[in-house]
Symmetry: C2
Subunit: 357 residues, 2 copies
């Protein structure tokens, strides 16, 4: 099914309103999800909506949170999301980081007691609009085994760095710190196809290409795959995300991060509150004039785009480029939804007495 | 040859003095190199000394630099290293970042017109000593091909994040953003052994296991190795390092970064000055009380150390742990130097009329 972004946005907003979100929060939460769908990151768009509803039904998401600043200095802060939607809490954190950056050059906010925040790129790009460099990361429920471990101890823990450019669009590095994100595994599961070696291991820690191994106690692998190919680096990056997002804020970390699915109970012995994020903003003109920076960003992008490639029909892909291409296309042609997602969304419409898609 | 750290330190300091460094700079530069050798990162220790001397002889390193702050806000700054040793310039930048963090919670310094800065971990750990989180990264001369490129456009561009802990030593994530660092390739070259697939490609961009391929126009590959295994993520991380270190500071970036070896000329059309670094410091107590943070860091480390492993004799290695084990051992037993390095160092001693090792 193809649906226009405006229709899908209105539908999504209505679901959030029905969950008890304020008008402002419903519009913001819908925007975060819609930007994922527009940018082609289907795993983080409206497909997630049913999961949020279920967590709300089991009282693990609070749709009228009182988000508070727990602690701060001129350029740092910790906020408590009051179990709100990460889609709301993370933009709150980023606005605070941007305010601090406006005044002092940079701003850094660690977040506890939050939930899934959608795509990291959304939050980092809030800074880019202000001619700042944006940072956003979050920890996530444990699916990834560190190098040598047979236990899942880390989430796919994405990190995002976003940089404004001049005539070119922003450069947005937005990546899970695992070899492959869970979304790619789900695609292989649906297609019944094996996954490449280096993505997952089974419950005993043997490398496998069976995309279903994760369901029977297996783990995703850190970026790098195995030690020989640098999986300790992927582990180190994931650890960095976990520490900045949760050890620093007072959220749960490592295996204590609560699951994103309502049918799995959170650990009985939490070490903090909810999940954690870390966001930051640095003013470009805290370092050099914005126009100079943008001129050199354009030169950087241009040089990489014109690189000699291995095959004649290839080109070097600038980080963030595929998402913008998807957005340009989907804005005009609509957003494709797979049947399972349409069914889920229509089920939600029915639950809340709303018009189906 | 095994040599005590004090003897090697004195020798190294004397070489820097002979190059015209001040006593303070010579001691600092020697300390940065010695910490690499102590920590088992032989590729970044005194083995580099001959390269620095050659660059100094060809007037590309200035041993009496006038390091200046070009631009600053309360929490950000750009400094010009005046073509000084990175071993001197990066600690200057980190001291400035720490001062800013002491006053405002965080400090971020981008650096242009510098040279090779040794191990990133040295600089990041300066912040950890002050109960801060330390960040350090640098761009480097181009050896790495982005995904799909047959050209070398990026350096091994390391990034380091360092976190204080309580009873455990600091967690230090210090990693090249390529699949393998050049040092590992050199080991394979010396041993005449093939390297794993996913480390390098030849001049045409074909994957190869020949460790000598780099010398005939080949490239190192980004962390991830190939697209299927996430090399676009390694490319994105490397791009982040390049932009923060050089586009932000006004240093050279991408293929314009000057080579670290004196026999290769710098590009004739530079886009900036020297190479670039980016360092930062954030006060832990800008987010939560230091003792709380350290208690949770210890819990984090402890949980990962006690993870169930794939094989019974394995354990999960905490980032920074192997380096500390090496340091504990080498402090007592001395630092092993391979013959080629001893010959190089004795050649330098002869050149400067100093006592040989």
């Amino acid at each position: 099914m193809l649906i226009s972004q405006s229709a899908l946005r209105a539908f999504t907003e209505n679901i959030f309103l029905a969950m008890g979100c304020s008008a402002e929060h419903a519009a913001l939460a819908a925007d975060v999800l819609l930007q994922a769908d527009l940018r082609g990151i289907d795993s983080h768009g409206v497909a997630r909506l049913i999961g949020y509803v279920r967590l709300w039904e089991s009282k693990r998401i609070n749709t009228s949170p009182n988000i508070t600043i727990v602690h701060q200095t001129p350029t740092t802060a910790t906020i408590d999301g009051d179990a709100g939607l990460g889609l709301i809490v993370a933009p709150f954190a980023m606005r605070l980081a941007i305010e601090k950056a406006e005044q002092y050059g940079s701003g850094w906010v660690s977040v506890r007691n939050s939930n899934h925040f959608g795509i990291a790129g959304y939050h980092a790009l809030m800074a880019v609009e202000k001619n700042m460099i944006g940072f956003a990361m979050t920890n996530a429920s444990p699916l990834v085994a560190p190098t040598y471990s047979s236990e899942r101890l880390l989430g796919t823990n994405p990190m995002c760095y976003a940089f404004p450019a001049g005539k070119y669009p922003p450069v947005v590095v937005d990546m899970a710190t695992s070899a492959a994100a869970n979304g790619k595994l789900e695609i292989a599961q649906r297609a019944g196809k094996p996954v490449p070696e280096g993505w997952i291991q089974d419950a005993e820690g043997n490398y496998t290409t069976d995309p279903h191994a994760l369901k029977s106690g297996g783990s995703l692998l850190p970026l790098g795959g195995d030690k020989e190919h640098g999986s300790h680096k992927g582990f180190g990056l994931s650890a960095t995300v976990d520490i900045l997002s949760a050890v620093l804020s007072g959220a749960n970390y490592g295996p204590w991060v609560p699951p994103f699915v309502s049918f799995l109970k959170p650990p009985a012995d939490p070490v903090g509150l909810g999940i954690g994020h870390f966001v930051g903003a640095m003013r470009v003109d805290g370092f050099r004039p914005v126009d100079e920076f943008k001129t050199h960003m354009d030169n950087w992008v241009n040089r990489f785009k014109s690189a000699q490639t291995v095959l004649p029909d290839q080109k070097v892909i600038i980080p963030g480029e595929p998402e913008l291409e998807a957005k340009a296309h989907r804005k005009v042609n609509g957003i494709p939804l797979v049947d399972a997602v349409v069914d889920d969304l229509n089920g939600l419409a029915e639950k809340f007495g709303l018009k189906k898609l």
